[in-house]
């Protein structure tokens, strides 16, 4: 099996690059069965998920990764990733801390996000 740490790092970097430049392009990284938990809201499917992300109240965003942990999940090719980091939005000087978990699944050589759980971290 391919190195899951390398996969996790590459995928996560690509995900945030896409998110930060044009988050409407994230549709290719989700499928109908994908789920997103976002600050208490639970959504399913590419359309609902991308609509949610695109409608978030900011124009510019920058993700900065602090830590990244990955493990294989025992299902062939699947990887679970836990990221902590910071978000800088629009004109704000103060970054917000966040945590995000991705469960990545292999579909004919392409990975997509099956489970996505995002939380801002306070305190």
């Amino acid at each position: 099996m391919a190195d899951y740490n390398a996969l996790a790092t590459q995928f996560t970097q690509f995900y945030y690059q896409t998110f930060d430049s044009d988050r409407s392009q994230l549709s290719s990284l989700y499928r109908e069965e994908s789920m997103l938990s976002f600050e208490g809201a639970q959504l399913q499917g590419t359309k609902a998920i991308v609509e949610k992300l695109v409608s978030l109240p900011f124009q510019r965003v920058q993700h900065r990764i602090s830590t990244l942990d990955a493990q294989p999940t025992g299902t062939t090719g699947s990887v679970i990733v836990m990221v902590t980091g910071e978000l800088l939005l629009d004109e704000e000087q103060m970054a917000q801390r966040y945590s995000q978990v991705f469960h990545l699944v292999n579909n004919n050589g392409n990975y997509y996000v099956l489970n996505d759980l995002f939380r801002l971290n306070y305190g």
Binding site: M35, S37, Q42, D69, I80, M82, H103, N115, R119, N121
Partner: protein
Amino acid sequence: MESSVKYAQEFVQRYYSSLDTNRNGIAEFYRENSLILWNGKPMQVTEFTSMIVNLPYSKTKVEDFDSQQVMGNDMNIIIVVSGTIRFDGKKPHVFSYVSFYCIYLLVLRSSTNFL
């Protein structure tokens, strides 16, 4: 999605209650093939459980958790938990507050755990 919340709630209550009041019971949540990363460090289950047993007295407060069913296999649930742990030092007035962010992948009868 409804049913995963109930399983997750029960798991979270049982796990952290065990962590605070029945350290030896923590091993029951894991199996031999469980994978554990503790602050980035991979650990074997036995190493992990003995580390847990040797922690100072702890009081855990779960602030929130998210859960999702993993499609295609009804018995798999991902849970992300956030909260605080208070450790009592030997001197009664010394406290450490630690914010924890844990993710658990529950597979029927075994668990994969990030800390």
